[in-house]
């Protein structure tokens, strides 16, 4: 059977860009969770973040709507534990999708309010039944400032 391209739409007709159901269900799940969650697509664009994540990003999702990967990287300006800029390709969401495995990372991000916050993130790739990586769910949580990877705090002096 001959495979064909998606049907052409008449000129002027609205463009339908329905997301795959795996992402639709992931967004609905994220919206119901108390832990901060970002949902990104296969390119790394932010499709959604939930209310708990709004506290870290310091902006309501409804004010931003979807956010390209480049916009997100520029705004959040992630930094590693040493305070150096963290290459975007090393962010957990990107690694999870590239390597098709859950990925965990510790780093700092700026919120829209300009405040640098220490966070941990675990990203889970969303892979369809057909084997396509559609995106990732990135679960975030804030670390107290100065807390190390093992939860330890630097002592005085």
């Amino acid at each position: 059977m001959e495979r064909v391209a998606a049907e052409e739409r008449p000129a002027g007709a609205r463009r339908v860009e329905q997301r795959p159901i795996e992402l639709i269900l992931a967004r609905q799940l994220a919206a119901a969770l108390a832990v901060p969650v970002l949902l990104i697509d296969g390119r790394g664009d932010t499709l959604f973040f939930n209310e708990p994540a709004e506290l870290i990003i310091a902006r309501r999702f409804d004010e931003i709507d979807e956010l390209s990967f480049e916009q997100r990287a520029a705004t959040l300006a992630p930094r590693d534990e040493a305070g150096q800029p963290l290459p975007a390709e090393q962010l957990p969401g990107k690694v999870a999708m590239r390597e098709r495995r859950p990925t965990h990372g510790l780093f700092h991000i700026h919120g829209y309010d300009g405040v640098l916050r220490a966070v941990e993130a675990t990203a889970i790739p969303i892979e369809s039944a057909g084997g396509h990586v559609l995106g990732a769910m990135v679960i975030l949580w804030r670390r107290p400032e100065g807390e190390g990877p093992d939860g330890s705090h630097p002592g005085p002096g």
């Binding site: 998606a6 339908v16 329905q18």
Partner: protein, 276 residues
């Protein structure tokens, strides 16, 4: 394109005087084109009668399975063209993450559930694992996409020239949210601007509250989905086995009251829709 309902019931065949108007056979819809191409949408118990008629000819038949729940495949073993030597029949359906369509169908078409094995079918049977996308069958352009329902499930969009029918018999889009925006609504891409949408309308709104996650829709959600997709007409489908004709009548009236722009009808066995 001509669309004929051969089975409108969901879940379980429900014969009896109380279901005689809408019918008791489970999901089966025939779609035929002017060039003679025949599509059979699902193979519930309604496919037995359709098979008797199709056995009078020798043309190619395409059976499109939305998923492999029993009410959508139970009629396969009684589909007469399967046992016509040399008859070309294509069966399309979703694989799972670990099993292809043949392996999944074999679970039913083998003892102890059924005496005839899939290998005993005499026709020239070709099984196709569906992946999201489009293909041609005769004059028809067919598109399949995954939709929200337990287990691997697809809906279909079928075009013949300018006519378009969408078939989403088991579908719970509300599980993905009820914003009904195109990007975030399961099935929207299949149903958008269709002339005819055959859609799950198994429950009343009160029943749905008790059955969230079961994979089916209330009539109100079916209408809201249809309106968001700007279809011309929606056919409420997959009637609950516990709903007699009077109950389906009442649900249809409620759905019509809820509709602002879409013509609403309820699927009944034998009804046809000529889409030109």
């Amino acid at each position: 394109m001509k669309v004929t309902i051969w089975g409108s019931r969901g879940s379980l065949a429900t014969a009896g005087p109380e279901t005689v108007r809408y019918g008791g056979n489970t999901s089966c819809v025939e779609v035929s084109a002017s060039d003679g191409t025949t599509l059979v949408l699902d193979a519930g118990t309604g496919v037995r009668s359709l098979g008797q008629r199709l056995a009078e000819g020798r043309g190619v038949i395409h059976v499109l399975l939305s998923h492999l729940h029993m009410d959508h495949i139970q009629g396969l073993g009684f589909f007469k063209p399967f046992f016509q030597g040399g008859r070309e029949i294509h069966v399309w359906g979703p694989p799972s993450t670990t099993l292809d369509l043949r392996s999944r169908l074999t679970r039913y078409l083998s003892p102890p559930l059924f005496p005839v094995r899939i290998g005993d079918i005499e026709s020239d049977l070709v099984l196709h694992d569906i992946s999201p996308g489009s293909w041609h069958a005769g004059e028809f352009e067919i598109r399949a996409e995954s939709v929200i329902h337990p287990g691997p499930t697809v809906g279909y969009r079928i075009r013949d020239g300018s006519a378009c029918v969408a078939y989403l018999p088991d579908h719970e889009p509300a599980l993905g949210g009820t914003s009904w925006t195109p990007a975030w609504t399961s099935g929207h891409a299949l149903a958008a601007d269709a002339d005819l949408l055959i859609h799950d309308g198994q429950y009343t709104p009160d029943e749905y509250v008790e059955r969230v996650g079961w994979g089916h829709s209330s009539v109100d959600d079916a209408v809201a989905f249809a309106e968001a997709a700007r279809v011309k007409r929606v056919v409420l489908f997959h009637h609950d086995p516990d709903h007699d004709d009077t109950a389906v009548d009442e649900m249809l009236q409620a759905a019509r009251r809820a509709s602002r722009s879409v013509e609403v009808v309820s699927a009944s066995e034998g009804s046809t829709f000529d889409l030109g």
